[in-house]
């Protein structure tokens, strides 16, 4: 049987949203596989070909040996053997290859391949992917608040980012991310989750990752126990920790010593409460040195230069404090 293209009219998307809203905040993919597959497929479909598409830069045209244009990628829903999924095609090429380790694992091999082994399209079935992940000891999950912000709203293409990314800071999503990771769970809501975290998932690295996530979770939980409503000023260091932990949960960065060194120094600063969690201030600027810290964590061999890590983090702390004004209300 060949996959059948499925069109979901607005009414059915609305129904999907209602069903998603009825789920608990975190639900296992396998507890409602059909609904989860539809929601994940919709999340991926919405991103394909847009600025939020993380797949595109790893999809190459075999003949030109260049990545296909992001705008050339189109997605549509398909059903096959009672599985819901999607097919991604490029108007640039029907001879595609994938250039990220693990990417081939999340694309149906028989349905997607040409006779010469290149790919005419990418058939993606979230339910099979959840099965692949579970055999690596990792559970894929739906996270309602994240999905409501991304899949079912919040994206303005002119801004080039999801509202959820910005509001991650205030929502303190690092706590939820660390909580999921320490439990061996990965959210599966869009192209970032698929390509950055699930493609190439390997149980051999998850024990260490879960240990790191547990440590992050505990330290941040202790830190925020001081206040019921932390200020944005106090949320920047934890947000930075979240981005480093996100990298560490990506197969290409599993166990990266550079990331671990930067993460450790950030955790020390949080434990020492150099910026108190109950600091009642307004933040006027996002610290430019945030970028430097993320770059440092990705620099090969940076763990051998702890003074550079400390300097970058101290600089960011000073930036935060100098941009934090006492509110006299």
């Amino acid at each position: 049987m060949n996959p059948q293209v499925v069109h979901l009219p607005a009414k059915e998307i609305h129904l999907l949203r209602r069903q998603f809203e009825a789920l608990p905040e975190v639900s296992l993919f396998r507890s409602s596989p059909k609904l989860s597959a539809q929601i994940t497929s919709y999340g991926i479909l919405r991103e394909v070909g847009t600025i939020n598409d993380e797949l595109s830069r790893f999809i190459f045209d075999v003949d030109s040996q260049k990545p296909v244009r992001r705008e050339s990628l189109k997605a549509e829903f398909v059903e096959w053997n009672q599985l819901f999924g999607l097919r991604i095609e490029s108007t640039d090429s029907q001879r595609l290859e994938l250039r990220l380790k693990g990417f081939y694992d999340v694309v149906h091999p028989r349905l997607s391949a040409n006779a010469d082994g290149s790919l005419h399209s990418l058939y993606i079935f979230p339910q099979i992917i959840a099965d692949i992940a579970s055999r690596q000891g990792v559970d894929l999950v739906m996270v309602k608040s994240w999905g409501m912000n991304s899949i079912f709203g919040g994206f303005n293409p002119s801004q080039g980012y999801y509202q959820t990314n910005f509001w991650e800071i205030e929502n303190n999503d690092v706590l939820k991310f660390a909580d999921l990771t320490r439990q061996g769970r990965i959210a599966f809501l869009g192209t970032h989750d698929l390509i950055a975290h699930i493609a190439g998932v390997d149980r051999g690295h998850w024990l260490l990752l879960q240990h790191q996530a547990q440590r992050v979770f505990k330290i941040l939980q202790d830190y925020f126990s001081q206040t019921s409503k932390p200020s944005v000023s106090s949320l920047i260091l934890p947000y930075t920790i979240g981005v480093i932990l996100d990298d560490l949960a990506q197969p290409p960065s599993y166990g990266s010593l550079g990331h671990l060194a930067v993460l450790e120094e950030l955790l020390v600063q949080v434990e020492q409460k150099v910026i108190p969690a109950d600091l009642k201030t307004m933040l006027t600027q996002f610290p430019a040195s945030f970028q430097k810290i993320i770059e440092l964590s990705r620099e090969f061999g940076i763990e051998k230069q702890p003074h550079r890590i400390r300097l970058a983090i101290q600089t960011m702390i000073q930036e935060i404090l100098q941009a934090s004004i006492v509110n006299g209300i």
Binding site: Y104, T284, Q291
Partner: protein
């Protein structure tokens, strides 16, 4: 609630224009309710938005830490292929 937040937001933004004092690394003892803190955070997020957008890596959705590379193995592993095969009718 919305109006209160808006007024607080305007007040907080107003403080920017009047060169409010910078703080050291000590929290002030000012008692601010959770509602007020929410309004202050709304003002903070509004205030930092333009500088946040200048930091490419602040957006996690574009944050995969990997470059495209040529792969030797251009197909799924045998184990993975077996999983796909198990879903064939």
């Amino acid at each position: 609630m919305k109006n209160t937040s808006s007024h607080l937001l305007l007040g907080a933004v107003g403080l920017l224009a009047t060169n409010s004092p910078l703080i050291s690394n000590q929290a002030t003892a000012t008692a601010i309710s959770e509602v007020k803190m929410t309004a202050i955070n709304v003002a903070s997020l509004k205030s930092i938005e333009s500088t946040w957008l200048k930091v490419p890596m602040a957006c996690k959705a574009r944050g995969i830490n990997a470059d495209a590379t040529s792969l030797i193995q251009k197909e799924a592993s045998q184990d993975i292929q077996a999983i796909y095969a198990s879903y064939e009718a």
